[in-house]
């Protein structure tokens, strides 16, 4: 412990005290359940046995089990698509909106405030609304696309295996845009205005200003938004439950929903925990990426 403390300068004692409490809290209330989940993935779990930590050790059997399942391949691809596409569109749309609303025009901040609506709505509600919008026969989305001539045949968004995953992604992007937009707005607002003025004097055009000033100055915010966005996307659950439940025929199945289905619908708790542990590995990668990106940054 002494060695641990000696890593810090004398003056940082106050800051350390602030961080330690939060970390301890997380270690206890989030770390222990997490460990429990990992343990389950190496055990042979008999459902409804009284809760205990000691169960027969199963080695890697649960992992072999899930990798031998026919849906594994699809779930893997779907999960990567779901996280990758959701994140890309959320960040790009969010950034564009943040830039738009950073301009000076009437009611800009009022309209930006309206975007919070997407964040206020619980996933469950958003799922139900989008289910109505996506309905193949009476849904308003098909109606608009047909009458505007953009499409000649109905798309059965939730029932056609070639669209179902994208339907879920569209709804998820809708849900995530306000979060990205708002935080990127804060980041943009914090960029000193004289930087732009100086650049303008130097004759830099809008693109050069964006890539030369805005983007580099936003690195910290972008890193935080992207890594949190990735983790939040991997936790998106209510939306999938309300929209497709991973169907039809696993075409929109993603890891988090699969893990839950295994654990709590078919009660294959060990297999479900193994999937969850694999997800953890993915988050680990994201976290490493994030920590590396923060290495250079600190209060300047």
């Amino acid at each position: 412990m002494k060695k641990f403390l000696s890593h810090f300068e004398q003056r940082s004692g106050f800051e350390i005290a602030l961080a330690v409490f939060a970390l301890l809290y997380l270690l206890v209330f989030a770390g222990l359940p997490l460990l429990y989940n990992i343990m389950l993935s190496f055990q042979q779990v008999d459902l409804m046995e009284p809760a205990t930590l000691l169960r027969p050790f199963a080695g890697l059997a649960n992992y072999r089990d899930i990798f031998s399942r026919p849906e594994m391949h699809q779930v893997l691809i779907n999960t990567l698509l779901f996280v990758g596409l959701s994140l890309t569109f959320q960040v790009v749309i969010g950034f564009l909106l943040a830039l738009l609303f950073a301009q000076d025009f009437p009611l800009a901040s009022f309209m930006r405030g309206l975007f919070l609506a997407g964040w206020i709505m619980p996933g469950l509600v958003v799922g139900v609304i989008w289910k109505l919008l996506f309905a193949g026969d009476f849904g308003v989305l098909n109606h608009l696309l047909l009458t505007s001539g953009l499409m000649h045949e109905r798309i059965f968004w939730l029932s056609d295996p070639s669209y179902s995953l994208y339907a879920v992604i569209i709804a998820n992007v809708w849900l995530g845009v306000p979060f990205n937009m708002l935080l990127l707005s804060v980041g943009i607002a914090a960029i000193p205005a004289d930087l732009y003025e100086a650049a303008e004097l130097d004759g830099a055009n809008a693109f050069q200003r964006f890539f030369g000033i805005t983007l580099p100055m936003m690195k910290a915010t972008l890193g935080a938004v992207i890594s949190l966005g990735a983790i939040m996307t991997m936790q998106q659950f209510d939306l999938i439950a309300a929209l497709t439940q991973g169907g039809p025929a696993n075409s929109s199945q993603v890891a988090q929903y699969w893990s839950w289905q295994l654990s709590f619908q078919t009660f294959e708790v060990s297999a479900g925990s193994a999937v969850a542990t694999l997800m953890l590995v993915l988050v680990l990668v994201i976290a490493v990426f994030y920590v590396r990106s923060t290495r250079s940054e600190r209060m300047v």
Binding site: F14, L26, A30, A190, A220, I231, A276, V283
Partner: protein, 270 residues
């Protein structure tokens, strides 16, 4: 001129974005038959609604109050505990803080739906299920705290370090420097993140569903699932309930947006 072009663009974008919300509101005033009608109607034909009936029959007043209390509790503790941690992780940079940031991210990796079983069992052992709303607050903080720390850290990082050092040179204690100099500068980021945390907690579902065993303390989101029965689903009821759930917060933000969202641009560091 440019201002008005931008205004029109923003108006269109906002309208497109809010369309799902609009759809929820007009569905409230449709009949079950109209809801499934093709082509869909963009304005309800009869304008019937069951808002008051849903509100009273479902005891929404109580549910909303519980959601509100839980969201307030979660936000208060998160901000209290998280702000300092975010500051610490922003101002000190070494192996340990890198590891701490890493841990903060990884510890919230799994969805609540997978964390809830061990939490339920542990909370039962600790007797926390006797105070169900507190139990949800404690569980929910494990989700909001990492979120809050990561985001607030980003706003602390943008504050010039010299400001703190200058305060320390002037003889201020580290805590004085934090509260007197740094905190006021980061207040926008803190405020916005706190609002996001509040809204997230207000819509929390999984922990409330499983940790609150007495319906008296149940939250509004869980009340929503009562419309989905084994064989019957009351769509209009769901939409009505959702609208009642969302509208007060939406109005609150309309009224407060000047101070909250508009403050984002005003507080830019020069």
């Amino acid at each position: 001129m440019k201002r008005y072009v931008l205004f029109v663009i923003a108006l269109i974008v906002t309208a497109v974005y809010l369309f799902p919300l609009y759809w929820m509101y007009i569905t409230v005033f449709k009949s079950a038959a109209e809801m499934f009608q093709t082509p869909p109607t963009f304005w309800p034909a009869h304008g019937e609604s069951h808002i008051w009936q849903v509100f009273t029959e479902r005891g929404m007043g109580k549910f909303l109050w519980n959601s509100f209390i839980i969201a307030c509790g979660t936000t208060a503790v998160t901000v209290f505990v998280g702000t300092g941690a975010a500051y610490a992780l922003a101002s000190v940079q070494n192996r340990w803080t890198a590891f701490a940031i890493f841990a903060v991210l990884v510890l919230q990796a799994l969805p609540s739906s997978l964390m809830v079983t061990p939490i339920f069992t542990a909370f039962k052992g600790l007797g926390l299920l006797e105070t169900p709303r507190l139990a949800v607050v404690i569980a929910q903080i494990t989700k909001t705290l990492p979120f809050y720390i990561v985001l607030c850290r980003a706003s602390f990082v943008q504050i010039p370090r010299e400001l703190r050092d200058a305060a320390l040179v002037d003889g201020a204690s580290p805590s004085r420097a934090f509260f007197g100099v740094i905190l006021p500068l980061a207040v926008n980021g803190i405020l916005v993140t706190a609002i996001l945390v509040f809204l997230q907690s207000f819509g929390e579902y999984v922990y409330a569903r499983s940790l609150i065993l007495d319906d008296q303390y149940q939250t509004a989101t869980v009340g929503l699932s009562a419309f989905i029965g084994a064989t019957k689903i009351d769509w209009i009821g769901i939409m009505t309930y959702s609208a009642v759930f969302v509208t007060p917060i939406l109005i609150a933000f309309m009224l407060l947006q000047r101070r909250i969202v508009a403050g984002l641009t005003a507080g830019a560091l020069k």
